[in-house]
Amino acid sequence: MAIETLVLGAGQEVGKSCVVVSINGKRIMFDCGMHMGHQDHLRYPDFSLISKSGDFNNALSCIIITHFHLDHIGALPYFTEVCGYNGPIYMTYPTKALGPLMLEDYRKVMVDRRGEEEQFSSENILQCMRKVTAVDLKQTVQVDKDLQIRAYYAGHVIGAAMFYAKVGDTAMVYTGDYNMTPDRHLGAAQIDRLRLDLLITESTYATTVRDSKYAREREFLKAVHKCIANGGKVLIPTFALGRAQELCILLDDYWERMNLKVPIYFSAGLTIQANMYYKMLINWTSQKVKDTYATRNAFEFKNVRNFDRSLINAPGPCVLFATPGMISGGFSLQVFKQWAPYEENLVTLPGYCVAGTIGNRLMSGKPTKIDVDENTVIDVRCQIHQLSFSPHTDAKGIMDLVKFLSPKHVILVHGEKPKMESLKGRIQSELGIQCYDPQNNDMVSIPSTHYVKADASNAFIGSSSTPNFKFPKIRGGNSELGDERVAEGVLIMEKSEKAKVVHQDELLEMVGGMKHEVQFAYCCPVQMSYTERISDSELSSRNFGLHKLLAKLSTELTEDSIQDCGEHLQLESLYISFCSRDNCAYRATEDCIGDKSATTYFCCTWLAADEKLAWEVISIMKKLHVIDT
């Protein structure tokens, strides 16, 4: 069987993340995002590839959403309410709490501001979220009898999770977006060392390696401080969740330390409301923020207040967080129009702005004029500061994660093609792991792991778990203790019954047979002559000849040591004893060579396992000529 990965979105691009993975008959959709850059049918993943008939309930076992960003959750209400998917949906508690805020905000922007046709209604969002099962980190969820999923902390935004999924013996991880370094309010991604067949990872910064972010934070604070010290106004266009909280913690903290009194405003109720959520979800933030929740909740901002439209042109310095980010319209654009023409003001831009937004135009070069629409042209004289910290992992982080998990295969998504190509090369050459970077609507098929199931007997498990200590001799005289335990048993397959593994000793009982021993025997002549006369009684004494033989054999056989057991000599299963009977059944008369009277017979018996060894000893014995002096 195979694991089949169908990439419906975020294949060699960033946007509309959606990957459908089939493992041993189970089909999981990871993320159900939308593309912000498209206004047509391309904005959603092509769901028809999942099921031609549109029967998604039978086509999918479950949907897993990694975090609340629109490129990961944006198409979910559409898929459940318009396309009619009714099966289970899983996301973390924060994602379930904050997801609807993001969706509603987006819906409003689309419908109310841009006047587009509604893709889904507010009611749709609510209905959709009712179908969602919230999960805690590391909670092991049994979706059905065979499918098990588990969330791991991913950093990135609050509630972001990497998801582990296991069907039978096959296991995989889908990372969503993650951050391998902690930021102001979130911890770094964390995952157990898992046995994985497949890792699907984001690769936004597939080739970037970042240094410490503290320097860049200082830069940002310096720029803001300089601006307000000169009486300017700072506009921070941002989305309501995530970055807003991170920057706000940063500023609030700085204000406290520097004892600044300049007001910090939040433009809409949205962010204030979002902070309410953050306060309850404090367990999902970084350890540092968590530790102080009782005495002072970090999201209880002391210097932050609500903004009123009338304050736009009020005199004096201030800092304003305004939605949406990237200045793509709405309130942040309104304020931008008013503040941009004054050079004492400052606008900060996030690290990444979608093409077509004003933010994107401000970033590319330093325009002095920007035409918002046909009638409006803004003079841009204000300062522009570009934030250079991002909640995504860098290339080193990706490599670290892949190395840590050491999966059998890696699939890269959520990145730009040339960069992914280079990362793919590194993963294959440096880590020796098969790696793929499929584009949208491509299918990647990799083999899955299976184990043959058998019932094991207690004796088998017991004997296999017993340590088998060996002291291998190492040159130089030091010996090192080694435990060379090997599990040995017999596998029994009976028609229409589950395979059983038993210890060899239990086998006969299981198959109902009686043991039959197969032995080899040979009465071997050895030439023994004595210079001194030895009394007959002495000669016939069993031990006399045997000891002579032992002495001879020991010098010949240097590797193995023969044990002297009194009545016989023993080497593994080979027994050698003095034979006094003339008509020994195991004696072959034609073997008698040379002087008959000088021939002494030794009866040898052995088992098949030591066949080679036994014949070796016998050939030595035949060639021997023991002359006693």
């Binding site: 099962t133 805690d136 299976h450 184990y451 090997v486 599990a487 043991k515 032995q519 040979y522």
Partner: protein, 753 residues
């Protein structure tokens, strides 16, 4: 597998304690303290610490001396406050636990915050090295409870001064002998053995190299130092606790998978499951199906385990409950609707739905009624000008009462301040608002709509609720006004600010004390019959608890809350979970295993007896890697239906699964099992197959006593003899090549591996 019930506990505040041995490992389930036993101690004597009324200068030393001379020979008299032991209290641990070698415990599983109060005594024991698991929420709440205990105990240490020895005077036999029988029974138990369980609170056994007692001269510094050291005990203990999220899987020793699922009893309270290669066990503690604060009892997750250790001792059985089962069963006409994702769709849905309906009758309705009644009593007293004191016991009750009371105050437009006074008040309430993952569905909905999870957040913001760490804070004295409603530690009425407030108000007939009593002490009466709760009835333990405050004019409302499963739900639950074996406490004998149709075997256990559980006869499953399976050399046996193959590899145990992997080639190749033959040799076919090899042989029968032996003689190409009897074949020849040919022929006519 073995089970020893060390203690059946005492209701919500003192969960039962067991040792279960599974697969050779010792699991300790919970490590509680019996805080109810604190009632044998006297609270700090009157006058010395009446904070709100100003201090009087009663010297503790002289007080003690006068007591020393007094003979206490009042065994047959009714108890009075002077009979209580005047000493820094000790804390009663599970006595039977001390009979075990603690270093043999491998794992400690904590099911409730209360179940970990005795842990520091364990973790500081020499040789103790067990791994301790608790849910993140239980660990946090448990830690806060410990911190509160330590801080309340400081008052005593300051009052009585440092102890001369680690063996308190009251524990001397002469002193115990003269104790009134009611107290003596609590102190030493029925057979006198329980005296061993008493311990000074997480005391100074952990030596801090920087703090030498001898260097500290004045008593106060010594006290402070001890508090620090006690805190060190606790901190040390908490560091050893590994916290788990809800339903997080953890693996102990590679072989045992441990998981915690909510039990509904309290925030973070859980039922543990242990799954090993051979056994799977559910430790079913006191569970509540539907609650209005903590996450509901997650019983679906407990399906598919072999053995259930039923340790919900909250159901104490008497005749009344029998009748109630009947009425409850008849009242089941209203079947609620269940979300379909609750059920696995595996054909047996109808069976499930029947079970569900039985399990989902609303437990919480009764509890809500009680809370509403309590809050109405409280409102009545404040309206009459009295204050209300609610000792902090169950967190869930406090959180909900705050909501009920504030609602009632609001609707009547009463402006009565509410105080929560406890050293951990702030942390406790703040914590309750940041763990939506452990709360019931209704509270989680609040998260989704962006509202605080509990009402206290808005009350604090609206300055209707005030939190203080202690009574003697300046800000508290500034805003203090009566009548007021106070939640304060500790429910035993021996420790904490609660004692001072009770002394202040016990003479006021308008004031109200809301007392929580455990079900065990009073029987089921209060729980089973709502009306009974409305009677201001006195139980045995309540009498003792109130002893130091007598005579009391204050009104007392005693109430008990659901602290486990209801009896009528046990059978349907077990039916649904369908384990192979259920272990149950002997006092529930008549209610278990009643139905002869069930295939579950019920085994009873009793306190302090070790029960051996018969082997469930399960063979562990082995996963064989496909690489290895592909290389197998199959042999078809004479019984044509059976195929066998020799298996060699490296056995690994991971996440409770045995896996056979190819292993290190060199090492594996160096091992080869002994070749084994069985069956009997067919002479004709042997001769035939020898012939095919170009070897001529003839058979001679030789009778050697009783056994018949055959000699197969070979003369060409070389001489050889094969002696064959029923169990043995001997091939004798001096020709190596011939020997191996004969061996091959023999092997072919036998079964071999």
């Amino acid at each position: 597998m073995k089970l020893t019930c060390l203690s059946k506990g005492g209701g919500y505040h003192c969960p039962p304690c067991h040792i279960v041995s599974v697969g050779g490992l010792q699991f300790l389930l919970d490590c509680p303290l019996d805080l109810l036993a604190l009632t044998i101690f006297s609270p700090i004597p009157t006058g010395s610490n009446a904070v709100l009324d100003g201090d009087s200068d009663c010297s503790p030393r002289t007080f003690l001396d006068s007591e020393d001379g007094r003979k206490r020979q009042k065994m047959d008299k009714t108890l009075d406050a002077d009979d209580l032991i005047r000493s820094e209290p000790c804390y009663k641990t599970v006595t039977n636990l001390h009979l075990w070698d603690l270093s043999f415990i491998d794992v400690v599983l904590i099911s409730t915050p209360m179940g970990m109060l005795g842990l520091p005594f364990l973790t500081r024991t020499k040789g103790f090295s067990a791994k301790i698991y608790a849910t993140d929420a239980a660990a946090r709440l448990g830690q806060l409870m410990m911190e509160d205990l330590i801080s309340m105990n400081v008052d005593f240490r300051q009052f009585y001064g440092p102890e001369e020895s680690s063996f308190p005077k009251w524990m001397k036999w002469e002193e115990l002998e003269v104790l009134p029988s009611a107290l003596k029974e609590i102190a030493v138990g029925k057979d006198g053995s329980e005296i061993a369980g008493w311990m000074p609170l997480y005391s100074h056994l952990t030596e801090d190299p920087h703090l030498h007692m001898s260097h500290l001269t004045d008593a106060y510094t010594v006290c402070r130092a001890r508090v620090l050291l006690s805190a060190a005990d606790m901190k040390d203990c908490m560091q050893k606790v590994q916290t788990l999220k809800y339903a997080e899987e953890t693996c102990y020793n590679g072989a045992f998978i441990l998981k915690a699922f909510s039990s509904g009893l309290e925030i973070g309270a859980c039922n543990w499951t242990i799954r090993g290669p051979k056994n799977s066990v559910v430790c079913l503690s006191s569970s509540i199906f539907v609650t209005s604060h903590a996450m509901n009892f997650d019983y679906h997750a407990l399906q598919g385990y072999d053995l259930i250790l039923f340790s919900d001792f909250s159901l104490d059985v008497n005749e009344d409950t029998e009748n109630r089962v009947m009425t409850a069963a008849n009242n089941l006409s209203s079947v609620s609707v269940f979300p379909s994702n609750y059920l696995y769709s595996d054909g047996s849905d109808t069976q499930h739905i029947i079970t569900e309906s039985l399990l989902n009758t609303d437990d919480s309705f009764e509890e809500m009624e009680k809370l509403a009644f309590i809050s109405s009593c409280i409102i009545d007293s404040v309206k009459a000008g009295g204050s209300a004191l609610i000792p902090i016991g169950r967190l869930g009750i406090v959180l909900q009462l705050l909501e009920y009371i504030s609602c009632a105050l609001e609707s009547l437009n009463l402006k009565v301040p509410i105080f929560v006074i406890s050293s951990v008040a702030e942390e406790l309430l703040a914590f309750s608002n940041v763990i939506p993952e452990w709360l019931c569905k209704q509270r989680q909905e609040k998260l989704y709509s962006g509202e605080p999870l509990f009402g206290h957040v808005d009350l604090i913001k609206g300055k209707k609720l005030h939190l203080f760490p202690a009574l003697h804070t300046e800000t508290l004295l500034k805003i203090w006004q009566e009548p007021c409603i106070v939640f304060s530690s500790h429910w035993s009425l021996r420790l904490g600010p609660c004692v001072h407030l009770l002394r202040r108000w016990c003479g006021d007939p308008n004031s109200l004390l809301v007392m929580e009593i455990s079900v065990i002490q009073l029987g089921m009466l209060l729980v089973t019959n709502n009306m009974a709760m409305y009677n201001l009835q006195k139980g045995v333990d309540a009498d003792l608890a109130l002893l130091p405050f007598k005579p009391m004019a204050m009104k007392i409302l005693q109430c008990s809350f659901l602290s486990g499963m209801k009896l009528e739900k046990v059978q349907p639950l077990l039916k649904m979970l369908h384990p192979k074996v259920v272990l149950f406490p002997e006092n529930l004998r008549q209610h278990f295993g009643g139905s002869s149709t069930s295939s579950i075997s019920f085994i009873q256990y009793s306190e302090n007896e070790t029960l051996r559980i018969p082997r469930l006869n399960l063979s562990p499953e082995l996963d064989i890697s496909t690489d290895l399976a592909a290389q197998l050399n199959w042999t078809k046996l004479t019984d044509e239906n059976i195929h066998i193959a020799r298996l060699k590899g490296e056995l690994s145990v991971e996440n409770g699964i045995h896996r056979l992997l190819p292993g290190n080639e060199q090492i594996v190749a160096s091992h080869s099992g002994l070749l084994m033959h069985w069956g009997s040799v067919n002479l004709q076919s042997l001769v035939a197959s020898l012939q095919n090899m170009g070897i001529n042989a003839h058979v001679e029968e030789e009778t050697n006593g009783t056994e018949t032996e055959y000699g197969v003689h070979i003369v060409g190409p070389n001489r050889a003899l094969i002696n064959i009897n029923a169990t043995r074949t001997v091939i004798s020849t001096g020709d190596e090549k011939l020997a191996s040919l004969i061996f091959e022929a023999i092997t072919n006519s036998l079964d071999s591996i």
